[in-house]
């Protein structure tokens, strides 16, 4: 498996507070990489550096590199909108737009210039199928998305992200606001999606990391403590701090 993203000596500050310290990591293509760690450890912050969502916070300062397909995404020549089209994101709280299910999915393709109704219909159906929600919503595509349940909304958000045909899908604790059944559906979906996409998921739930991820990175106080195959990291952690965390001694 080849690597699709690499972070080199990445550090990040919010004003004077350092939130990430020299993070180095390589993320393999078409796999699921999980970021775990206690609250405030920097895992979500790091996830957001991968599609430059941190740019939106005015006081952020970033040094180091994040390479995607060999290109440093923090380079001045990079078109950040194009980058985010290729590296999609699903947020912690389901956040469908207050519009119809159809318009939610079509939003991204329309933004990128697709106007043909036939083409849009096709993309909407395919994206909803890929997100395993087509059968539930196919008869109410014109209904407002806010009328769906939380779990459905989150799968709709995944479908919306897929509609722009990204290469990578970043998921920021996508199940933390959902019930167990919805959670397991999202997990199944993630496993299904890794055939075609690279998935990076931040999770609070260590069982979730074990269940779905190929590789796991453990963050603590802004540092990447340990990174490796999920099975190995959870069975034979090399760092004492990782062991303490996964055995539930803190966090």
């Amino acid at each position: 498996m080849s690597d699709i993203m690499t972070a080199k000596d990445l550090s990040l500050w919010y004003d004077k507070t350092q939130a990430l310290k020299n993070v180095n990591i390589t993320i393999p293509e078409k796999s699921i990489t999980a970021f775990i760690g206690p609250s405030g450890c920097g895992k979500s912050t790091f996830l957001k550096t991968l599609n430059r969502m941190n740019d939106l916070i005015p006081s952020v300062k970033i040094i180091g590199e994040v390479c995607y397909n060999g290109q440093n995404i923090y380079d001045n020549s990079v078109d950040v909108n194009e980058l985010r089209r290729e590296i999609g994101m699903v947020f912690q709280k389901p956040n469908p737009f207050p519009m119809s299910i159809y318009d939610n999915i079509a939003y991204g393709p329309r933004t990128h210039g697709i106007k043909s109704k036939v083409k849009l219909d096709e993309i909407v159906e395919q994206s909803l199928r890929d997100a395993a929600i087509w059968d539930e919503v196919k008869d109410r595509l014109k209904k407002n998305a806010l009328g769906m349940s939380g779990g459905q909304q989150q799968r709709l958000c995944i479908a919306r992200a897929l509609a722009v045909k990204p290469k990578i899908l970043l998921m920021d604790e996508p199940t933390s606001a959902l019930d167990p059944i919805s959670t397991s559906r999202i997990e199944e979906l993630a496993i299904e999606l890794k055939k075609s996409y690279t998935i990076v998921i931040v999770t609070h739930n260590m069982q979730q990391a074990v269940r779905i991820s190929d590789n796991t990175a453990f963050f603590l106080l802004g540092e990447l403590i340990e990174y490796g195959e999920t099975e190995k990291l959870f069975s034979q952690p090399t760092d004492k701090r990782t062991e303490d965390y996964i055995t539930g001694r803190f966090g």
Binding site: M53, L56, P96, P98, Y107, T111, R160
Partner: protein, 287 residues
């Protein structure tokens, strides 16, 4: 314990009375307007009153048609909205989403100041600057016209449109905007395709509020519109519903005075309609 309960009750009672006082005022004004507005309408005839095109209250054979006033008020308000809403709307989008914090603080202060300027000052500036300018630019005998009134009204409604739209735009959850940006939309695309539609009922409320302000304004428009009861035409002197009441009340008597009350009643009904519309949008915003 018992004493506490009594104090609670007493305070409750005081607040109730104060609340009823407000309600009482509204009720009193409504009843008064209806009672004093009806006689003239019955005497003149509803149709002749509302659709008569000639107002000559002091002529030997007086004529009491208020269509010129109604149309002037409607045209004037529509013109002010046409001019003021786009400016106010884009200013609100800029201030709530794009402006850097320093510019925003400065401009918000300016907008508040604009809201606080008494209408007579708008009228004065309009009279001394705008009216002569309109006369010069359009080469007409008198700059005091519907056009000048529209300009002044458009400026006067800007603060309410900007402020209410801004509140609505700022209340749009950041999550919506994040989702749009994460799909590769640019910030400006995001504001116009996600934030504005999400805030649309609040923005509609802002427009309706602007309509209410424009239609109810008297002093400033009286000073720049020429105050002649012509049928409205952009570069002619005109008289609004509000100014019709204000300009003749001091020397009116008999049927003329009663007719002025009837004009006030018509204006009141307009305002009621606008308020109902406003409440509709505000309620929609809440849902």
């Amino acid at each position: 314990m018992k004493k506490n309960k009594m104090i609670e009750r007493a305070i409750h009672g005081v607040f109730l009375i104060l609340g009823l006082l407000t309600f009482g005022c509204v009720l009193l004004i409504t009843i008064y307007l209806v009672i004093s507005g009806i006689p003239a309408i019955t005497e003149i005839g509803l149709f002749d009153f509302l659709f008569g095109t000639k107002w000559a209250s002091t002529a030997d054979e007086p004529s009491y048609g208020i269509l010129p006033f109604i149309l002037t008020s409607i045209y004037g308000t529509a013109g002010a909205i046409l001019l003021g809403v786009p400016i106010g709307f884009f200013a609100a989008v800029y201030l709530s989403k794009l402006a850097n914090p320093k510019v925003k603080a400065f401009m918000e202060g300016a907008v508040s100041l604009l809201a606080g300027i008494p209408s007579v000052v708008y009228g004065l500036v309009g009279m001394l600057v705008l009216v002569p300018a309109v006369r010069e630019i359009f080469n007409i005998p008198d700059g005091a016209s519907l056009f000048s009134a529209i300009i002044v009204l458009a400026i006067m409604i800007l603060p309410s449109i900007i402020k209410v739209s801004m509140t609505a735009l700022e209340a749009v959850p950041k999550e919506y905007e994040d989702a749009s940006l994460a799909l590769g939309a640019t910030p400006v695309e995001t504001y116009f395709r996600v934030s504005v539609p999400a805030a649309k009922s609040g923005i509609a409320a802002a427009v309706v509020l602007g309509v209410g302000r424009a239609i109810g304004e008297a002093m400033a428009v009286m000073m720049v519109s020429g105050n002649v009861p012509n049928m409205p035409s952009l570069f002619q002197s005109v008289r609004f519903l509000t100014t019709a009441v204000a300009s003749e009340m001091s020397y009116s008597s008999g049927l003329q005075q009663q007719a002025l009350f009837s004009i006030a009643l018509v204006l009141f009904l307009f305002i009621m309609l606008i308020n109902a519309t406003l409440n509709f949008f505000l309620k929609k915003e809440k849902d």
